[in-house]
């Protein structure tokens, strides 16, 4: 996409050598992990400085310290040359540093203005919201962030909520804005809007720290970049103009990054999953799916792309049987599975890897054994005549522990003590060991480190080769495009179009097309350009 590749220049060409923020020798450890290991970081006034690294590299921790949420074990922080110590976010904000979190810190039932005013001393006692509504709206206008101050947060889209978060910080007069993975919830076109806002802020005299793990964005928007890996600084303050993506990737991951996966050519067979004109409501009673139709054949991976919150969660829930649909149906190998008990789907070979490992996928206080038999406990050999055979259950669990490389002292360990990667392996072991005919995986690699991600990708591809039908729902476009044979795009509960992915490395026009669909343009309205092929 052109906009991502365009390099930006600083608003004024003058050399801004003044150090606005200085962090020296920051050390922070949590039980079991050293998150920041003698980290140095500098921010100059008027620049956009990116903090690059994989999941778990320590970027968020470092910035949480700067924003006053955590306290460092040792190391110093200086703002405008003066040493500071933040005991709470309030101190940081008072020093001019504010953070826009990846998971928004907004109270859903309150209005935009109320959220902006939260925690401030002004108004003193009486809430006269209308006075402040206009102040909030004006501030938004100034930086290109349009939002209705009287709207309640739960009524806003994700992009609008992000604008509220930014306004919150601007309202408090912060000079430094820390953005934590801000593009995770935005479609490519919305990202451009964000970048314009950031440039407006620089022009307005602010500085920005941009946390990301996405190379393209970093090289597109940032003036300088610092790379973290496993808690240590790999490269500090490199000027982005003078460095290539490959070099940055190397620093980030520590080895030659192979952008390609070992994906054999696909041999799709019969249609296994048939979703037809599906309509469903979300938890608030608003329509989430508005006539979704798609299908998945055996032996292929079908991806579903889309910005979070456009119905993916509801779709996976209807397919797996956790949610009722109001219209339409889902067929699994010809059998109706929608609006039936989840058991029916399980018995017909459905596997589900949910988005939320801890809240839906597993029972935290039960053992590994108890968790892996969740789908099989009704049958022999695990249970006979209503009684559980713990010996065969334990044997089964141990077999899975071996096969899926689950690292745990023994299978009686409660599952809440497992790391994210191990937890995902438990879930995958449970789901895949049933030789499913069909699997829907939602955000399967979220929050995992590179090794675990590779493992999950390999498992998905193995399933594909074994003839299973896989529906992969993910927000990581790269992951989708490299794994899938076909990709659907969902927007506001409707399918915008379907694209066949034939090339190994996703090319620009394909990404552009998908990006346009992700923001609401149906496929048949996109002018065909170059190599974008569609069904």
């Amino acid at each position: 996409m052109n906009t991502l590749e365009r390099k930006t220049t600083n608003s004024s060409g003058t050399e801004k050598a003044t150090l606005f923020v200085e962090m020296r020798g920051i050390v922070k450890s949590f039980p079991g992990v050293l998150a920041n290991d003698q980290v140095d970081f500098e921010l100059r006034g008027g620049e956009i400085h990116a903090l690059l690294g994989e999941n778990g590299a320590g970027k968020s921790t470092l910035m949480n310290i700067l924003a006053g949420l955590y306290r460092q074990d040792s190391g110093i922080i200086k703002v405008k040359g003066n040493p500071v110590y933040f005991s709470s976010p309030r101190d940081a904000i008072r020093a001019g540093i504010g953070m826009v979190h990846q998971h928004f810190m907004l109270v859903p039932s309150q209005t935009v203005t109320e959220n902006v005013l939260l925690g401030l001393d002004d108004p003193r006692f009486l809430l006269r919201l209308p006075d402040f509504d206009s102040k909030v709206a004006d501030l938004g206008e100034r930086f290109g962030l349009k939002v209705d101050p009287r709207a309640k947060i739960w009524q806003l889209s994700v992009g609008e909520q992000q604008r509220v978060e930014i306004i919150k910080m601007l309202y408090r007069g912060t000079d430094v804005l820390i953005m934590d993975e801000p593009t995770a919830v935005l479609a490519p076109q919305e990202i451009e809007g964000l970048f314009m806002t950031l440039r407006a802020m620089i022009a307005g005299g602010k500085s920005v720290i941009f946390i990301s793990h996405k190379l393209q964005e970093v090289t597109a928007i940032a003036d300088r970049v610092t790379v973290l890996r496993r808690g240590k600084v790999m490269a500090a303050g490199l000027t982005t103009a003078g460095v290539t993506r490959q070099e940055l990737a190397c620093q980030m991951v520590g080895r030659e990054v192979i952008f390609q996966l070992d994906k054999k050519p696909g041999k799709p067979g019969e249609i296994v999953l048939d979703v037809n004109d599906l309509h469903a409501e979300n938890d608030k009673g608003l329509p989430a799916l508005r006539g979704v139709s798609l299908n998945v054949r055996s032996g292929e991976i079908v991806g579903l792309a889309g910005v979070a919150g456009n119905g993916q969660r509801e779709l996976s829930q209807v397919i797996s049987g956790l949610r009722k649909c109001t219209q339409g149906h889902v067929l699994l190998n010809g059998d109706l599975v929608s609006n039936c008990n989840t058991l029916f789907g399980i018995q017909h070979g459905m596997a589900y890897v949910p988005e939320d490992r801890t809240h839906v996928g597993t029972a935290p206080n039960l053992s590994v054994t108890d968790n892996v038999i969740m789908k099989k406990y009704r049958q022999a050999p695990i249970s006979k005549h209503g009684l559980l055979d713990m010996t065969s259950a334990t044997k089964f669990a141990n077999e899975l522990k071996q096969a899926y490389d689950i690292i745990v002292p023994n299978v009686a360990t409660p599952v809440r003590l497992l790391s994210g990667g191990n937890l995902q392996r438990v879930i995958l072991a449970r789901e895949i060991s049933g030789q499913p005919a069909f699997m829907v995986a939602v955000q399967p690699t979220r929050g995992l480190d590179v090794g675990a991600i590779e493992g999950v990708h390999r498992l998905l591809l193995t399933q594909r080769e074994a003839g299973a039908a896989v529906l992969l729902i993910s927000e990581e476009l790269e992951e989708l495009l490299s794994l899938s044979d076909r990709v659907y795009v969902i927007y506001e509960g409707k399918i915008m179009g379907e694209i066949k992915v034939e090339v190994e490395e996703p090319d620009q026009s394909l990404i552009e097309t998908v990006g346009l669909m992700m923001t609401g343009t149906p496929l048949d309205q996109i002018p065909k350009e170059g190599a974008a092929a569609h069904v």
């Binding site: 809240h359 839906v360 039960l366 038999i373 009684l387 559980l388």
Partner: protein, 379 residues
């Protein structure tokens, strides 16, 4: 800036030690939970002693009295067991509901209704008065369990269908049960205008040890009755169900993560109602055992004696494990038995409250590790 000045910035007071708290990453050693619970009880007894002293009593004497009055000789041990039997059953009732995170505070009411059901068999009468005891007793057991199950069914349905908070609904049903039984005692089955029903004939009594004193002289005067065996049997069966049966697995799964259970295809609504009924039935069985084994008539005050509430504490203390519940019930039986004579009379209840508070507080140590670090060692 050096490290020590950071500490200077952080701590404004100078204490010789620092408390460091961090979440546990691995399960604590197996003996830890028991040790922590024991420590909590010791702390509770200490606190209770302080309050007793403040109210004018003598704590040491009170506690020694409790020990002697409950375990001093075989006679009082038998009395302790008699007091423990209803607690055993109500604790089992609470434990099975708590496993599914259903807070059944209504074991008291279910117990009372169980007593009512069993008495109804005798007093209506449903069986001819000369019927053999081996027909009467199972009939009373069934009636007691049925009545208790109904009293558990009501809040179960309310919760499953209307999401009515079961704590309040079961509690309200406690009060309603008392009024209900009072009505029958005062208005229908009263004995000569007194506040109790006529005494039940011997063929409705649960056999007691002293019935066999002719053959085994040691049993003379021992009122321990069959209810104990019934309770122990119930505990063993419950253990089997919870840990070794499919249904037990489902109950445990729902209690730990209802959404995962839903995904596994388990019907939460149906299980809510069934578990509440089971819980009610167990408590009802306790009511029957008390009426048939001890009181031998329907009378409010010995029946509505707080066994249902004690059951909550015992279940929690035993961490919901049926076999441990047997042991803990005996301890609490001792507390209640000896507590009868302690002045002031609210002491047993207060001690139960303190124990529960200390227990809950001690749970913290299971999830977090507390270290006391001397600051001078840190340089």
């Amino acid at each position: 800036m050096s490290e020590s000045s950071i500490s200077a910035l952080k701590s404004k007071r100078r204490l010789p030690f620092r408390i460091h708290i961090e979440p546990r990453l691995s399960a604590p050693p197996a003996w830890y939970p028991a040790a922590v619970s024991l420590g909590a009880i010791v702390a509770a007894l200490f606190l209770g002693g302080v309050l007793i002293a403040y109210a004018g009593g003598d704590p040491i004497r009170s506690y020694l009295h409790i020990a002697k009055a409950s375990f001093g000789n075989i006679g009082v041990i038998s009395d302790t067991i008699v007091k423990a039997t209803p607690i055993l059953l109500t604790s089992l009732a609470c434990s099975v509901a708590f496993r599914m995170k259903l807070w059944n505070i209504g074991a008291e009411g279910q117990f009372i209704m169980g007593a009512f059901g069993a008495s109804a068999v005798v007093l209506t009468p449903m069986l001819a008065p000369e019927t053999s005891r081996w027909l009467f007793i199972p009939a009373m057991m069934l009636a007691g369990m049925a009545a208790g199950a109904v009293w558990g069914w009501i809040p179960g349905v309310l919760k499953a269908r209307f999401n009515v908070n079961e704590i309040i609904s079961t509690l309200m049903l406690n009060y309603i049960a008392v009024a209900w039984v009072n009505f029958w005692i005062f208005a229908v089955w009263t004995e000569g205008g007194f506040q109790m029903s006529p005494k039940f004939s011997q063929n409705t009594w649960l056999p007691r040890l002293l019935d066999y004193a002719k053959a085994i002289p040691v049993f003379r005067g021992l009122t321990t009755h069959l209810g104990l065996l019934i309770g122990i049997l119930a505990a063993v069966i419950l253990w089997l169900v919870i840990y070794r049966s499919r249904w037990g697995y489902e109950i445990r799964l729902i209690g730990d993560n209802p959404r995962a259970a839903q995904y596994a295809g388990i019907n939460i609504t149906r299980n809510t109602i069934l578990v509440m009924m089971l819980s009610g039935a167990l408590a009802g069985l306790g009511g029957m055992s008390e009426v048939s084994g001890v009181v031998h008539r329907l009378q409010t005050s010995p029946i509505a004696a707080g066994y249902g509430f004690t059951g909550i504490i015992v279940a929690w203390l035993a961490k919901l494990h049926p076999i441990v519940i047997i042991v803990v019930s005996i301890l609490f039986g001792a507390l209640i038995l000896a507590g009868r004579e302690i002045q002031p009379s609210g002491v047993p209840k207060m001690i139960q409250g303190i124990i529960l508070v200390c227990l809950i507080a001690s749970d913290f140590l299971m999830r977090y590790r507390v270290q006391i670090i001397r600051t001078d060692a840190e340089g």
